[in-house]
């Protein structure tokens, strides 16, 4: 099903064949440059080491020229195919990309194949234009690649466009639990809230965003931010007008996310919940 382009920032949605949608952050030029520099350092170090080893061993046998020849062959292979071979073998990553948590994927989220990996890196010869210095050893400035990245919406250089690949950030966030606010005032306030009031999804979202961030906001600003939501709520719950807005939102959060007021009801399995959700959606107009 063709989807309208909804991407506003560098976050893209990938829908897998199992019909699961999840988000990736696209890697822009300034995330990719350090990974590229690390890889260049590795290549350079390897070639210098190989030069020393090859010339030393071959000149012992009196065939120093052969060592130079082998080394030049190695320069050719490594400088053109280092990236491509690693991206094939390591599932879209080179050592530099792995260190910085980047990965190359096809545009549809699938892993890349060998042909894509090799070609997107051979086309560095175009993306790298203009080169400072001659021949195969010039220093690339990547102006073409940068221009292509700036022109598109997904930070693709020409090699990426030709192969249909994107570079994403593989983030590793840590799981944080529900924010614990069990201050006695909050618990007392939560008991005052009417039982019949059910929190809508949008409100629940707003509450959890607010509570997750309130620690980092100064009390006066907290008060100011909370007031716009708390005042209509206080009026609706017929609470006194001088109720602390921050406290009210925390109490509502506590009741929605933490306190189990419906202690008697049996917890549902996720499948049953999902089933009931689906049923509810079918029956509702």
């Amino acid at each position: 099903m063709p989807q309208p382009q909804r991407q506003l920032d560098s976050r893209i949605e990938i829908v897998t064949p199992e019909n699961i949608a999840f988000h990736y952050i696209l890697a822009g030029p300034f995330r990719r440059l350090p990974a590229y520099l690390i890889d260049c350092g590795i290549i350079l170090g390897f070639l210098i080491l190989a030069f020393i080893v090859l010339t030393m061993t071959t000149s012992f046998g009196g065939v120093g020229g052969l060592g130079i020849g082998l080394w030049l062959l190695l320069v050719f292979i490594v400088s053109w195919f280092y990236f491509g071979v690693f991206e094939t073998l390591w599932n879209g990553q080179t050592p530099g990309k792995r260190m910085l948590g980047l990965r190359v994927l096809s545009e549809n989220g699938q892993p890349i194949n060998a042909m894509q990996a090799i070609l997107r890196n051979v086309l560095r010869a175009v993306d790298g234009l203009p080169f400072w210095g001659a021949g195969g050893l010039g220093i690339p400035f990547y102006m073409c690649g940068l221009a292509a990245m700036a022109a598109g919406s997904r930070y693709q250089r020409l090699g990426d466009l030709a192969c249909g690949t994107i570079v994403v950030v593989e983030r590793r966030s840590r799981l944080r639990g529900v924010a614990r606010i069990e201050h006695p005032d909050v618990v007392r306030m939560a008991l005052q809230l009417p039982v019949s009031f059910t929190v809508s999804r949008g409100l629940a979202h707003a509450l959890s965003v607010y509570v997750a961030r309130r620690e980092r906001i100064a009390p006066a600003r907290r008060y100011e931010i909370a007031r716009s939501l708390a005042e209509p709520l206080a009026a609706r719950f017929s609470l006194p007008g001088d109720t602390n807005p921050d406290l009210l939102l925390c109490a509502l959060y506590y009741r929605t996310f933490i306190a189990d007021s419906s202690a008697g009801s049996t917890p549902l399995s996720p499948e049953r919940e999902a089933q009931e959700m689906a049923d509810a959606e079918v029956t509702l107009p």
Binding site: L70, A117, V168, E170, A212, E273, A274, M277
Partner: protein
Amino acid sequence: MKVAQLLEKRRAGWAELETMCRTLESGGTRRLGPEGVLRFATAYRSACADLALADAYQLPPHTVQYLHDLVGRAHNQLYRSKMFRWRQWGHELFVEVPRRLLFDRTLWLATAVFWGIFFASMALGYSSRSYCEDTVGVDALASVEQSFATPPRGRDANTSGAMGGFYVFNNAGIGLRCFAGGLVLGVGGLLITISNAIQLGAIFGHMFTVEARDNFIEFVTAHGPFELTAIVFSSAAGMRLGFALVDTGGLSRIKSLQRAVYQAVPTMAMAVILFCLAAVIEGFISPSSLPYAAKAGVAVVSTILLLLYVFGLGWLGRPRRAV
């Protein structure tokens, strides 16, 4: 059920998936073992289900973010890139590429442009020295002349080895840049082909006028067929990419380019193989003290092989029409 309870219940499963991701990232599937792989798939599916229902569960935003990251990470471990498939590449190189070369007009365009301009430039270079100096450069011309001042009477194995490596590095590098340059504005390949043909033609034309003519001819004969054909192949592959941007056949330009990639890359792979063959000949046979007849023999054999490759294999693999 409240979110706090739900999170407590799911936390163990997510942590397990995260641990298995870490194992897979560092050691591949072997370290996980068969049961581990099965458990991984189950844990991935249930994390996916949790993510799909995150909105319904009213999970806090940072938990949703965590799930997006976790599912993305596990997805990249579940689906892995395809390795090189040797048999498939053999089929590409010996069935698909010759057929494509024989029936693709870009190869014939590249051939015509390259050889036409090459001979024209050779004629000009033969007749006027100033033309050569303008196109190749005075210094470059002098260094070419100087390098053929003595007849190729055998290098020691040392120099041959070094030069063989250098020829692969230099010539195949030029070929790959020629191919990549084909992408520039659609006609980059054409421009690079023309410039290569002019330069080479001028050098050839000029070398026929100087004393060292025989040395030059003796040197270039043996590896000429492979090397010049490799240049033509890589130009053709580059042009295929570039022309896909110009003549899209009704597709969007990007899609048309992505389709052309699958035709151009195997051709380029063949060109790199030819460059390597040419480098071996150029390093070990061309400068050796073998009689000229032997070097000419190498040239004849390689020409026959190339003709068999393009016309023989190309004709065998021709698209069959249903009778």
